[in-house]
Amino acid sequence: MSADLSQLFGHFMIAIILLFIIGAYCILASFNMVRILIGLEILIKAATLLIILAGYICGRTALAQTIVITLIVIEIVVMVVASGVTLWAFRNNESIDPRKLSELKG
């Protein structure tokens, strides 16, 4: 691993770790289901960037891009389903506050 690559990895890694922190904080602290999904999106974006970075560093950009393309397709379908759940949570509770979704417990 050349020093250049190592430095590049370092820079990207710092940003990726910060993105993970931001996404996790958003998921944990939001009182709105759409914001939770946005937090998830940020997490997934961090992972996507990591995969591309990994492909770049070890010289397998083709494989990494393939993986990311499939990943994006899955991501969007997950978001569609999650939006559907949000919609119905709103219809059931008249609110998209996730705190209303804590009746199953114990």
Partner: protein
């Protein structure tokens, strides 16, 4: 041969969705899906007996799927077939509205494709793709009735599952960086050959483990399990508890940590600790549950703990025990969820405070649930006992007596909570009998009897099962 397990349901899925009215008729749909699953059961049952292995696969040359069918996959295919079939049977007596039936069967097909592919796959990213497909289909299945609880359960499952995906994707990135490929063979070589970066491999292994543990639903990653299981419609909870979580979490764990990754001491200890904590924690949690399905969900967590525990012992015997327990658990947990479905259908509730003295009214349900409960608690000669015994022996011979003893004591706890359940629901006083009493349907009764028979037969003939289906596993474990 292996790609047939993927392409057949896929073809069926396509055919079902063709815009012809007659194809959507319920009368054609149920038998088609059921028949496909029965065929899967039959094929995977006879796989280890060397029948049908020689059949040439015309698709193999056309599609480069890179699927491989070995003894572990064949057991998984068998379980998927049985449980999905039972789930379809139960659904056939609970769902009648045409649109819902159509959606249900489509989603079941998708989840079966997802699971079948998951167990045949030999590439870590494709594995993630199909685990995600299964999960997606199940999200929609759980939320299908769009009730308050169903949406809530789906939401929690979805969020935690997405977090698990992030863990897994990160791990895949590290594997890609360390190995340069995502196939199992390359990763296995990387572990064995010492030519790859040990730190990256370790990082990837750890992160993937965390993701998988969320999917498995073991303590402390289990938050979604009781909610999703209890909120799902009866037939879906059978599928979810019996096989979806198990395949997308536990199977992957077994496959990767049993046959691909090489476990170092720290990983072994991690698995052992997580296993034993899940066993005890969930067993205690289920003691005071008042909802039948919630109690079953916690017991499910506890039983998955045994599998993880056995995996942590990292010996071939333990692995065999883990797979056997996997099989048994899938069968008897599905049985118990079918019992729950039966109660739900008849009484409209699974709250145990509102149910009582059903023993005399629902003879089949109470008898089969007793079999399921005793098997879960590990009472001989039912199947659950044997797998637990093998796990315990394996733990002892791996030099982990403390874990073995704790696991044993916890199974006493299991017995206690199940007996309290049994007493409340089936033997207790008849609590004001609800108005909505209907007769148990054929589908439910048949699946109860079928699963109970498998449990008893697997217990009595465990030696045969062990020799025929499970011993070949020794070859794929390292």
């Amino acid at each position: 041969m292996p790609s047939l397990f993927v392409l057949t349901p896929f073809l069926l899925l396509v055919v079902v969705n063709l815009p012809f009215k007659f194809l959507r008729k319920q009368i054609a749909l149920w038998p088609a899906v059921g028949g496909m699953l029965v065929a899967q059961v039959v094929f995977s049952t006879f796989y280890p007996l060397n029948i049908g292995r020689g059949i040439a696969d015309p698709f193999e040359q056309f599609f480069m799927f890179g699927l491989s069918l070995d003894s572990l996959s064949s057991i998984m295919l068998l379980i998927i077939g049985i449980v999905a079939f039972v789930s379809v049977l139960v659904a056939s007596s609970m769902i009648s509205e045409e649109r819902q039936v159509f959606h249900f069967l489509n989603l079941i097909l998708i989840s079966v494709i997802g699971m079948n592919t998951t167990v045949l796959i030999s590439d870590i990213f494709s594995l993630y793709v199909f685990v995600e497909i299964t999960a997606l289909a199940v999200f929609v299945l759980i939320a299908m009735e769009k009730g308050k609880f169903a949406i809530e359960g789906t939401f929690k499952y979805l969020i935690l599952s997405a977090v698990a995906s992030v863990f897994m994707l990160t791990a895949i990135a590290f594997f890609l960086m360390a190995v340069g490929s995502t196939s199992f063979a390359a990763i296995k070589d990387a572990f064995a050959s010492n030519s790859s970066d040990a730190f990256l491999l370790k990082l990837g292994t750890g992160l993937f483990l965390c993701g998988l543990l969320i999917k498995c639903g073991v303590v402390p990653f289990h938050g979604w399990v009781p909610d999703a299981y209890s909120a799902a419609p009866a037939s879906v909870s059978v599928l979810l508890a019996g096989v979806v979580t198990k395949v997308s979490g536990v199977y992957v764990l077994l496959r990767l940590f049993g046959t691909v990754f090489i476990l170092n001491a720290a990983l072994q200890n991690t698995l052992l600790l997580v296993g034993i904590i899940s066993i005890c924690f969930a067993a205690f949690a289920s003691l005071t549950q008042t909802d039948f399905k919630r109690m079953l969900a916690y017991s499910s967590i506890s039983q998955v703990g045994y599998i993880v525990l056995a995996l942590g012992a990292a010996t071939p015997l333990a692995f065999v025990g883990a797979v056997f327990h996997f099989f048994n658990h899938a069968i008897f947990k599905s049985l118990l969820f079918v019992n729950a479905a039966s109660l739900e259908k008849r009484l409209g509730t699974t709250d145990m405070d509102k149910i009582g003295g059903m023993g005399s009214k629902m003879k089949v349900t109470s008898a089969t649930s007793l079999i399921g409960l005793l098997s879960t608690a590990g009472i001989p000669p039912l199947s659950g006992f044997w797998s637990k015994l093998i796990i315990i022996i394996a733990l002892f011979s791996a030099g982990r007596p403390v874990y073995a003893v704790i696991a044993l004591l916890a199974s006493a706890l299991t017995l206690a909570y199940f007996l309290s359940l049994e007493r409340k629901v089936f033997f207790g006083k008849v609590v004001a009998s609800p108005a909505a009493e209907t007769k148990a349907s054929f589908g439910i009764t048949f699946s109860e009897v079928l699963l109970a028979a498998i449990t008893v037969a697997a217990g009595l003939g465990f030696a045969f099962i062990l020799n025929t289906w499970l011993l070949p596993l020794k070859e794929i474990v390292h």
